[in-house]
Amino acid sequence: MSPDLQNPFVLWLLLSAALAGLTYAFVRKELQVRAVFYGAILLACGVAIWPPFDKDGTPGKIHLGLDLKGGIHLVLQVVIEDAYNATVGDAVTTSRDQAARQGIQFGVIERTDATSFSVRGTEPARVKDMRGVLEDQFSPGWNIRTEGEDGFSIRMTDIYKRQLGDQTVEEAKRTLERRVNELGVAEPVIARHGSTGDQILVQLPGVEDVEQAKRIIKTTAQLSLRLVEDSAASEETLLEGTGGRLPDNLVIMSSSAQGSGERLYYLLRRESMITGRDLKTARVGVDENNRPQINFILNANATDKFSRETRRNIGRQLAVVLDDRVYSAPTIQSKLGADNRITGQFTTEEADELSKILKAGALPATLRYLQELTVGASLGRDSIRDGVRASVAAMAFIVLFMVGYYRLSGLNAVVALSANLLIVAAFLAYSGATLTLPGIAGIILIVGVGVDTNVLVFERIREELRNGKTVRMAIQNGFDRVLTTIIDTHLTGLIAAAFLFQFGTGPIKGFAITLIIGLMANVFASYLVSKFLFEWVLGKRRVESLSI
């Protein structure tokens, strides 16, 4: 085959030209335009679906849904409160810093609830300055209210909350997209979902290791490197060292349980030296003892900061924290640069997963699972087998009946049905919509609708013939008289299918799509093409009888 024929458009043009030639030679003049037009549409469909299914390594054009292929379907909820909390936390820190910078004395600045914080005990002379600081920092997004003589209550506005929520969900979605890319899944779906605005739909067709995929998706993956102030075998011991109360700038985190089952507790700086955002890339490596480790490279800005901070803190311990758990706490030996590593008690798989997650970045908030559907690959294969078997049985029965009952006209109906199915298949291939099990059921239903249209027309033609009309008149009247009925039935069908499409996800959507396309294709195939076939076969000569 010459390379040009690989181009579907060129192939279609050539085939259509050949069709036009044949039409010119064999079809009567008044039918030629329709012949070429209908034929070209069907040829385009034929070219669009080839090859339909996976074969010899070439991927098929028709995508199978995950109920047929196996895979995971997850509905996740982004816990937006996490983002509110983090934002309020940042705001509290900023206010304290700014107040201190301006030399304003104050009692406390602290969080009151998820979306607000308060300032109390401002020195009386500087209340106005404090207000200025707050307005400078938080003016558009927050409501600042005076509380008593020396206090303020600062609360997020609803607009800002919505905006923040939306940003958080978008960011979570982008992170999930990067992680799924790391998994190497073909044709994943990651989309906003539901009416509440905080849900994300993840569909991973053909995934084999379901558990791994779920872990990689769900891990929050907040990486941070923090200076260690102290470490001990229990939290109580650490608290004794700080005088029983944990200072604001410190946190306590534990290491993961080691081989012996003992945990070590660390007193860490709340502020991170490096976070997951500062990473340029991460990958798995091995240390000098051939144990797996994670190598990561910092971006340029973070490298400067990291070098400065490590030089200043030589001899102290630096904790590597992932999702509030200390993985390791090596001592800083020298000034560190861009290229670093995390060692710990990983298996190679764990290290591999962690590096993938780190590379894809952290989630801005925790995710909750709302719905989870996993389909095993062999269950999917058996479903295809059953679906195909049922379709073949239904088709065979209908073809036999139509040809047996309506003779040559029945053959016309079979051609029309095949054209209808070809269009549905071509649409599925071209649009990238997936074929699901309910989709197969939809196709069988379309076959039913197609048969209904043909039967409606044929019965009407028979009736006209009984009333003594000529064959040509009977066909003309038959098609004309049922047109309104066909339009009515198809439009009501489309209304129902449109609602299903709006509502459905996954399989149901597949059903709705096949139904919508099938209904439209049916008007073309069972009405226009079928009518053309009658006119073409009967020709110009006088016809005494009709095989119907």
């Binding site: 109920d67 196996g70 509905v75 909820q77 539901g194 009416s195 779920k214 909750r368 699972y369 709302l370 719905q371 989870e372 559907l373 095993g376 690959a377 062999s378 269950l379 058996d382 479903s383 087998r385 059953d386 679906g387 049922a390 049985a393 239904a394 029965f397 209908i398 009946f401 139509m402 009952y405 099990l437 309910p438 059921a441 069988i444 039913g448 048969v451 209904d452 039967v455 409606l456 019965e459 028979r462 009736e463 009984r466 008289r481 309104t484 009925t485 009515d488 039935t489 009501t492 069908g493 209304i495 129902a496 299918a497 609602f499 299903l500 509502f503 459905g504 399989p507 709705a512 139904l515």
Partner: protein, 310 residues
């Protein structure tokens, strides 16, 4: 070959006897829904459903013993064809959003321990938390009602008369209620796929009604000497062979889907088989009689006026 050449059956005359049957069936359907007898699938009722494929023929009693120990009241049954060694387990444990797949993991762990000699080689699962369950329930009800409403508005506009749309509506509602009743009677669960099937059933029922209404309307324009009941009855007779052939072929094709389409599509095709039968019946014995009754109450000149309006 032709079946039913020029039939002339008095359908409307028989409708009043069949009305009793319709009322009884609808009452049974309403009883099933209102009395809380309808079973809902995982997606609407929250929970976890597993489809496990075992190495060799699974022994249901042993599996039940293992699963009951962590989740009493679970439903356990074979799934699909015997040679596939599949079992469906509907866990009674509540699925919580915090750890949605915990019940499924617990069940698999228990099975591995108590029934280790026949290991699970493939597991498929569906877990639905309360939030999605409630959202889907709300949406499903909205969807079926709105789908029906919009089809009716279209019919009302097309036929320029509320009664025609209302006739089709009552017939479609009649079909949905009876179908739900029959589903419940045969122990099927209402799942998302069943909702899709019910909406398709509505489409089918309305479709069937339109064919006869359209024919009656065409007759109205031509033969003004007949009463509206006669015209409607004629319309049923004239389209009868089409009705029989279409319902027959579609019904049999769907029967093929029911028999060979596999376990996943069984409930779906069941609704559609039932729908084909009930939908055809309701067109002839519910929708058309309602319209005939409406116009029949009026004296002739007014009925004539109604005809003229069409």
């Amino acid at each position: 070959m032709e079946i039913l050449k020029n039939p002339n059956v008095d359908f409307l005359g028989r409708a009043k006897y069949l009305a009793i049957a319709s009322v009884l069936f609808v009452a049974a359907g309403i009883y099933a829904v209102a009395g809380g007898h309808v079973r809902y699938g995982v997606e609407f009722s929250e929970g976890t459903q597993l489809i496990l494929q075992f190495q060799s023929t699974p022994e249901i009693e042993k599996i039940r013993g293992a699963v009951e120990s962590i989740s009493p009241g679970s439903v356990i049954q074979t799934f699909g064809e015997a040679e596939d060694n599949r079992v469906l387990i509907r866990l009674a444990l509540e699925a919580l959003e915090a750890d949605l797949d915990a019940p499924a993991r617990a069940a698999l762990a228990t099975l591995a321990e108590a029934y280790g000699e026949n290991s699970v080689i493939e597991s498929s699962s569906e877990s639905v938390g309360p939030i999605v369950g409630a959202e889907l329930r709300r949406k499903a009800i909205l969807l079926v009602s709105l789908g029906l409403l919009f089809q009716l508005i279209y019919l009302g506009v097309r036929f320029k008369g509320g009664i025609w749309g209302a006739g089709a509506a009552v017939a479609a509602l009649h079909d949905v209620i009876i179908a739900v009743g029959i589903l419940t009677f045969f122990g099927y669960e209402i799942t998302l796929n069943i909702i899709a099937a019910l909406l398709t059933l509505v489409g089918y029922s309305v479709n069937d009604t339109i064919v006869i209404f359209d024919r009656a309307r065409e007759n109205l324009r031509q033969r003004h000497k007949l009463s509206i009941s006669e015209l409607l009855n004629n319309a049923i007779n004239q389209t009868l062979s089409r009705t029989v052939i279409t319902s027959g072929t579609t019904g049999l094709a769907l029967m093929g889907l029911y028999l060979f389409g596999g376990e996943v599509l069984r409930g779906f095709s069941f609704v559609l088989v039932v729908g084909t039968i009930v939908g055809t019946y309701s067109t002839m014995f519910v929708a058309v009689p309602l319209v005939a009754f409406w116009y029949g109450r009026k004296v002739r000149p007014e009925a004539r006026a109604a005809n003229a309006a069409l």
